[in-house]
């Protein structure tokens, strides 16, 4: 018996800093928009279980897009992009996300992203606290050096396997094999974007000394880092939260750097906690 998922996919076209983009997104649910960013070199299937979670989608319109050059979102249509080295900058990334939210006319969205999506969540809270109701930076820190590497697309090695097996032990050994291998599989698909994404992750994203400028009273910030993440440890997530006035921190035990994709049931418990914290902050403001 065939079974259809309630998740639907669409394309939307808009412009970002002169680039004409046709962007693919998946969505399900109704209520406050919860906009989800995948990790570097990946695509929106990392959010597959959240998108189909009846409990969450009862109250939230979950939207997971593919960043330009990822998944089904092609590189810019009006540009000879193959003649340039791809390096994602904080300015472009932030402009993309706000343009996407504007294109969909989203009101008071909560933004959630993991890894380089977590780092950009911090950038959004800093630069556009009025545009977002709250942000949930997952696997985030003020700075995450060391991953902008040529190995990810070295012509003498199998880039698909280097990317996928290179991020393998960002995941926890306790996470189910099926989900870890699905995540590995996604990572075989994005090697051409991965290195350029990591330019943002390890070079251009640097909020050291600037976290105090984020106002988590205006735009609530709940940071969540996982125990098996070797790039941004729980300790680094906690230290980042401590430097942001009003920010909160949740440590996720027994899980790694791709929590929503490697072990959704464990991630969900923490996500619900984060959403409750945000709801009570926003409720206190209006009440």
């Amino acid at each position: 018996m065939a079974k259809f998922s309630p998740v639907t996919g669409r394309y939307v076209t808009f412009e970002v800093m002169g680039d004409e983009l046709k962007v693919f997104f998946l969505e399900n649910g109704s209520g406050q928009p919860l906009v989800c960013q995948h990790t570097a070199g990946c695509h929106n299937h990392q959010w597959r279980d959240l998108l189909e979670d009846e409990e969450i989608t009862q109250n939230y319109r979950v939207i997971a897009y593919d960043l330009v050059r990822h998944g089904k979102s092609d590189p810019p249509k009006n540009k000879e992009w193959w003649k340039e080295e791809y390096r994602l900058t904080a300015d472009y990334y932030v402009a993309f996300i706000t343009a996407f939210c504007d294109a969909l006319e989203l009101e008071d969205p909560i933004f959630m992203g993991s890894s380089f999506g977590g780092q950009v969540a911090l950038q959004l809270a800093l630069r556009h606290p009025d545009r977002f109701a709250a942000v949930i930076p997952v696997e985030a820190a003020d700075y995450s050096p060391g991953f902008f590497l040529d190995w990810w697309q070295h012509p003498h090695a199998n880039a698909a396997q280097v990317c996928a097996s290179g991020v393998w032990d960002l995941m926890a050994p306790q996470s189910p094999d099926q989900d870890r291998w699905a995540t590995w599989f996604y990572y075989t698909q994005g090697s051409e974007a991965f290195r350029g994404d990591l330019y943002f992750y390890s070079v251009d994203h640097d909020l050291r000394g600037r976290l105090g400028e984020i106002d988590a009273e205006k735009c609530p910030v709940v940071i969540m880092n996982a125990e098996y993440d070797y790039l941004t440890t729980p300790e680094e997530g906690r230290q980042t939260a401590e430097q942001i006035p009003g920010a909160e921190f949740i440590e996720m035990k027994g899980i790694g750097h791709f929590p929503m994709s490697e072990n959704y049931p464990v991630f969900k418990q923490h996500l619900q906690q984060a959403l409750q914290k945000i709801e009570s902050k926003l409720g206190a403001r209006t009440g």
Binding site: Q161, A164, D169, L170, Y230
Partner: protein, 133 residues
Amino acid sequence: MAAETAVTSGWIEDFRRASDEDAELQAHGRYYSCAYLLDMEEHSYLVQMHAGKVEEILEDPGPLDDRYQFIIRASAETWRGFGQETPPPMHHGIFAAAFRTDLSLEGDLLVLMQNLRCVVRQIELLRQTGVPV
């Protein structure tokens, strides 16, 4: 020392069997041919792989005994973490440990990257065999 030798030689056989019988390595290891040194502080092992099978494992090789392309070097204590069934954080993979423990990756890292999937899997087999240190 005799007891120790018995323990470690048992490990060599266990590790060989775990590798040669591992479904993933055998399904994807057709081109997995290289040699690397596992330096565990108290002992070192030169692992020679050919077409996904263990050709030979030399224990504590002498300085000129044979060649290898890269080294995975860490303290015995770090390797003991790798040898647990559920390794503690930062002992659950060579990249994690290289970023956060005393483990270092040395030599021709291109060969490591060319064989990364199989090396990562083979090192995980230490969770089944334990480590000889």
